[in-house]
């Protein structure tokens, strides 16, 4: 029997997974900085809906594969639980997203749909990475290891929450996101349409 994951690190898996990823991000409207940042103003809930749905689908699928015994529990890469580092990084990426209009992945989508501001964002991304590397030896290394949760990296290891429970709770929260988001979208100006996104951001 075939064991999962296949652990393919080659060119084709990268190109194919990336191509599908980029295609779906563009289809969701995530090349538009106007649409992306509207999530933070609560007028367009696409970012939260799409990300959260994807997390529930993928986490549910992986939990199911584990429950069926097709996927060993420790077979996948899980980010280390340096929670302080995750919080500092989350704050900086969140601020960068709000100000710059993109996150690193969506800036590639923005650029490929013709947005020159996304190219400038990408230049900033390289510059920020260089600045980080420059400060690495003078204390930054400690930031990346801040706030380690020693009990484990996953909800199961750290808090004993069974995978299927965690997925179930997220699915319930997802229903809440669609309900609240839909309500606020109807009250406000509503989601940014493709026609508006292609025209570019305009003053409200």
């Amino acid at each position: 029997m075939m064991t999962l994951p296949l652990n393919d690190a080659g060119m084709w898996s990268g190109l194919v997974c990336g191509l599908l990823f980029g295609f779906v991000l563009e289809r969701a409207g995530f090349g538009s900085p106007c649409k992306l940042t509207a999530q933070f103003r609560f007028t367009d809930w696409s970012v939260l809906k799409v990300m959260f749905t994807a997390i529930v689908v993928a986490a549910g699928g992986l939990a199911l594969l584990r429950a069926l015994g097709w996927l060993p529990a420790d077979a996948l890469f899980v980010p280390s639980a340096y929670l302080g580092a995750a919080a500092i990084g989350g704050a900086l990426v969140g601020a960068g997203f709000a100000v710059g209009g993109y996150c690193p992945g969506t800036s590639v989508v923005g650029l490929m749909s013709g947005r020159l501001d996304a190219l400038v964002f990408l230049l900033g991304l390289l510059l920020g990475t260089g600045l980080f590397a420059w400060g690495w030896s003078s204390g930054l290394e400690a930031w990346t290891l801040a706030g380690e949760l020693e009990s484990g990296d996953t909800l199961q290891e750290a808090f004993g929450i069974p995978d299927l429970w965690a997925v179930g709770a997220m699915a319930l929260a997802l229903v809440g996101v669609y309900w609240l988001g839909g309500r606020m979208e109807r009250r406000g100006r509503g989601p940014v349409s493709a026609a508006e996104a292609v025209q570019g951001a305009h003053p409200d």
Partner: protein, 180 residues
């Protein structure tokens, strides 16, 4: 040449096609992420490639300093910093996004945000936002895709902390200043 009436309502229309509804895009993204995990053993990302590109560019400008750098040095010492799965994946993202935008009539060269905040301010906000995101993604060892989305799919605690702070700070920052 006379316009072909049969074409005018579809492929030659100026009106771009609508985006996918969020539930559909979300399910599709979840399935792509699931496929990536099963195929490669890890999720999707972005800043792995930009970090490698930074190393390659820095190595071209200042080889000795880059090799001596504690963070970028290990990436350039083997010779080819860009030779990695994540570089192919980001190239794939670019191709997929281009195909999707072109096919849906959403490909338009513009400086998005120029009309809302002005050209100079938009250039500054895009550059500054990129710097913040690039720096932050290295502190957290991942970005919205690599740590937030992919990490949450494996039920990693760090991913949920990242996403919670990401949204909280994003909401506050977008209230303080408008970049787009």
């Amino acid at each position: 040449m006379k316009p072909n009436p049969a074409m005018s309502s579809a492929s030659c229309s100026l009106q771009p096609r609508p985006f996918w509804p969020s539930w559909l895009a979300g399910i599709a993204l979840g399935l792509v992420l699931l496929l990536t995990f099963v195929w490669t053993g890890h999720g999707l990302g972005a800043t792995g490639a930009s970090t490698r590109l930074t190393a390659a560019l820095a190595h071209g400008v200042a080889p000795a300093a880059t090799e001596g750098n504690g963070y970028l040095g290990p990436l350039v010492k083997q010779g080819k910093p860009l030779a990695s799965w994540i570089s192919w994946q980001v190239l794939g993202v670019a191709i997929g996004a281009l195909a999707a935008a072109w096919q849906a009539g959403r490909l338009r060269v513009q400086l998005d945000g120029e009309h809302s905040v002005g050209r100079g301010r938009r250039l500054l906000s895009a550059l500054g936002g990129g710097v913040l995101a690039g720096y932050g993604a290295r502190v957290a060892a991942g970005c919205t895709s690599g740590l937030g989305l992919s990490g949450a799919a494996t039920l990693g605690v760090a991913a949920f902390v990242f996403l919670a702070v990401f949204f909280a700070v994003g909401i506050v920052a977008s209230r303080l200043l408008r970049g787009v």
